[in-house]
């Protein structure tokens, strides 16, 4: 009977107090835990996105400027063109064609990949839509047809005067002459014609840029392949900036342009021989965008920017000319881009969850709707430098 009398008031009080303490403890632990549960996967995700962005960009930027590797014309691309540019280059929406030569959040690099297809023109190109007829006997990777060129390859053609074109190979045929092949380039018309002996090589083109579209709340690191494809690499990138550092010394003539084997310049396209004028550009005889004639000698057209170590290159320096191959060419670039030796990349990522971003302050570029301090995720920013090996052969 005694057992059915229930609890005493004291027992109840003790039991309820213990219950309250335990439940209170559970809430004390779980409220912040819920914050951590929301925030930590986002933090891990942001770090993973930073790693992907750093790896993707540094891998491609590091290769910038790697040049052709067969015959006497071998050498880094800085000997013929600017392989690093602060704007978009390619077949679609190319910035250089619309007169934009600097964007802080865009970079384009070009390089000839390892084991690339490569050849020399056997005969001059007949017009800007004409096929490129390449010699398949010399200066060609052995054992492959059409020097390794296949439909779909992105290719580069240059003649050493500073002019270049890139195109996508849309057809490969046997040439009319023996030991030649014809490369067709469909929609990619050339900016000029090229003489026999001009080099044609497979090329890798990479443009990285920031898609910054508040209207659709889209902030992405984008990649463009130089042809037709723009694709998002990393989501929720809210800051991207490229800074350029260059060789303070102007280019110098290493060998007379009349010599058969280069390199003729320390960097930059070689000028024509003194007294000879290139019909493809508007510079006077013996001159080109990088070299002028002073006192009867070919000397650099570019200024000395300092001594010794690399100097920061400003937007003004990179957009004021002189232009290669000349100021009217469709594919022109500022000759100071030939100096670029180092790129500094600043990258900032945010969490995609608006509720985890603080509503104000400097912790985020894009304010969010977060209120609870235990579950706020600030932006993460990282800076890294890339010194492309192929444009730093003397370093």
């Amino acid at each position: 009977m005694r057992r059915e009398r229930g609890f005493t008031l004291v027992e109840m009080l003790v039991a309820v107090t213990i219950m309250m303490i335990v439940v209170g403890g559970v809430f004390a632990v779980f409220n912040p835990s819920q914050g951590a549960f929301q925030a930590q996967p986002e933090v891990a995700d942001m770090q993973q996105r930073i790693r992907v962005a750093v790896t993707e960009m540094s891998d491609q930027l590091l290769m910038a400027g790697a040049g052709t590797y067969r015959t006497d014309a071998s050498g880094p691309l800085t000997n013929v063109l600017a392989p690093i540019a602060p704007y978009r280059i390619g077949s679609t929406s190319s910035d250089d064609r619309s007169g934009t030569f600097f964007r802080t959040d865009t970079i384009s690099v070009m390089y000839v990949p390892v084991q690339a297809a490569e050849a020399a023109l056997a005969i001059p190109v007949a017009g800007v839509t004409g096929d490129l007829t390449i010699a398949t006997s010399t200066g060609c990777p052995p054992g492959v047809s059409a020097c390794g060129f296949r439909v779909g390859n992105r290719a580069l053609v240059f003649d050493g005067s500073g002019g270049f074109d890139t195109f996508t190979v849309t057809g490969v045929q046997n040439g009319a002459m023996a030991a030649t092949s014809n490369l067709q380039h469909g929609l990619d018309t050339l900016s000029r014609v090229y003489p026999a002996g001009a080099r044609v090589a497979e090329v890798a083109m990479h443009t990285f840029y920031l898609k910054n579209d508040p209207a659709t709340d889209t902030f992405q690191l984008m990649h463009y392949d130089g042809d037709r494809v723009d694709e998002a690499l990393v989501d929720n990138v809210v800051g991207l900036r490229f800074d350029y550092f260059g060789d303070p010394a102007p280019p110098a003539i290493l060998r007379d342009p009349s010599e058969a084997v280069g390199p003729w310049t320390s960097y930059g396209p070689k000028p024509p021989m003194t007294g000879t004028d290139s019909s493809n550009d508007s510079w006077p005889a013996g001159e080109n965008c990088a070299f002028t004639i002073a006192g009867g000698r070919q000397v650099s057209r570019l200024a000395t920017l300092g001594a010794g170590s690399l100097v920061p290159l400003t937007q003004a320096q990179l957009t004021d000319g002189p232009w290669c191959p000349d100021a009217t060419s469709r594919n022109r670039f500022d000759a100071d881009l030939l100096r670029v030796r180092k790129i500094r990349v600043t990258l900032r990522v945010q969490t995609g969850e608006k509720a985890l971003r603080p509503p104000t302050g400097t912790l985020v570029n894009r304010p969010g709707a977060g209120r609870d301090g235990s579950r706020l995720v600030p932006d993460q920013q990282i800076k890294f430098d890339v010194t492309p090996r192929n444009v730093n052969l003397n370093r």
């Binding site: 001594a307 920013q381 370093r395």
Partner: protein
């Protein structure tokens, strides 16, 4: 008997039983809660590793950008004056690619160390860490014994001041979260 047995089974838990049960529950909850702390710590550690690696690469790229080649007369030219211990690097007043003291990867050596804050921003140099230091970045430049005039072995070690201060870890080996990278730089003919 039957009534008594039935009444016993209906008697509920004793206070002691309830205490033991709640105690067990509380202990297991604390263990679960610790998982969140572990996850947070793992993320923080991953961030440290990422930063340390990027900072080490940054210094390596700075070392690689210094002139180390031949001029037109094939005389060796070397950058021995750029000061990489300050950011941005100063074109004069430093040591450039001069060989570092024997223990520069172990003990902070003037000209071969710099200090960075939690965001990876340069905040100072010198043999003692400055206030606010999170990362210590040391590097060494050693001529390759087989080709001392033309080839350098470059090493960079990034450690976190919280883990071990400026102490070296015996032979400059790295702990988890730290980054140590190595590269070879050699003169190339034009």
């Amino acid at each position: 008997m039957a009534e008594s047995s039935s009444s016993r089974s209906c008697s509920g838990f004793s206070l002691v039983e309830v205490l033991i049960a709640t105690g067990l529950l509380a202990t297991s909850l604390v263990a679960v809660a610790q998982l969140f702390a572990v996850a947070t710590k793992a993320n923080s550690s991953a961030r440290t590793s990422t930063f340390a690696t990027v900072l080490a690469q940054q210094k390596m790229e700075q070392l690689r950008e210094l002139t180390w080649g031949f001029d037109q007369q094939n005389n060796a030219v070397s950058d021995l004056q750029t000061d990489l211990a300050v950011t941005p690097p100063s074109p004069a007043g430093g040591l450039g690619l001069s060989p570092s003291p024997a223990r520069s990867l172990l003990d902070p050596a003037a000209g071969y160390v710099d200090y960075l804050d939690a965001a990876g921003t340069w905040i100072g140099t010198g043999t003692r860490p400055v206030a606010g230091t999170t990362y210590i970045r040391r590097w060494s430049i050693t001529p390759l014994p087989a080709d001392p005039a033309n080839t350098l072995v470059l090493q960079v070690l990034v450690t976190r001041i919280r883990d071990r201060g400026t102490a070296n870890n015996g032979a400059g080996t790295r702990l988890p979260n730290e980054a140590r990278i190595m590269s070879i730089k050699t003169r190339k003919f034009q």
